[in-house]
Symmetry: C2
DNA sequence: CGGTATCCGTTTGGATACTG
DNA sequence: CAGTATCCAAACGGATACCG
């Protein structure tokens, strides 16, 4: 009600639009690993253990679940090279995952900027 | 090692840079509510219960914790109007939160696009 | 290698009640 | 109103073992 200030950058509708769409985005690509997996696979296709090593800190169980989820949502494709022994499996990002480029770039740019801010403002954290 | 394909969009260094910076970004603004709170407060300053109503689905306990965290990280400021009875508290975003504009816009744009894709491709989900 | 199944501690978070 | 405290259930996720 009262106490309104300068910063009325967003209209009510814009705000709700943002809350809705951002919510939908976070719903599918939110969480600790989804985007990292997509980024890692964007460099090049990777096999399961290779991916796990790249991501450092993710367990096989979680990686497995995340990959299933990403596959279900059309961000990742699972490729089985049936002609090899033992069977080789690799994962690749889909074209749809590429549409996240802007999101990834924005997060990367902001993250890089934030790092600097943190390191200069709070050298003492421990 | 083998099985490399067309899509070597990112160099190894670019990939690691992204993984690092995106990781840092997700560390502070990741999670279900952080960005939504910032978006909601970007419309205008809000009081505690007002904010809770706007966000629909967040409990008082979680909102309280999230606000403390956001305040600690410099995204939100807590303002107490001591001259009122009962005491009125409102929250506002800081200038630093405004630097997230690009991230929010990217997520919003992608989220809006994704909504359409979903609604036309999978009208049957239940 | 590429996972899955199970066990089990940790964390998350809702509901409710309560305070200043 | 603006939270906080407590209780408790569910989800998360690591470790380990195991399979094709």
């Amino acid at each position: 009600m009262s106490f309104k200030h300068k910063r009325t950058v967003l209209s009510r509708n814009e705000c709700n639009s943002r809350l809705g769409a951002v919510g939908d985005a976070l719903y599918v690509i939110g969480g600790k690993w989804k985007l990292r997996i997509i980024i890692a696979l964007s460099e090049n296709n990777k096999r399961f253990n290779e991916l796990q090593r790249t991501l450092k800190g993710i367990s096989a169980r979680v990686l497995s679940n995340e990959l299933k989820d990403l596959e279900l949502n059309g961000f990742v494709r699972r490729i089985v090279h049936a002609d090899s022994t033992p069977v080789i499996v690799e994962y690749e990002v889909t074209d749809y995952a590429d549409t996240l480029e802007g999101v990834v770039r924005a997060l990367h740019d902001w993250g890089a900027m934030h790092q600097k801010k943190i390191r200069q403002k709070e050298p003492v954290t421990a």
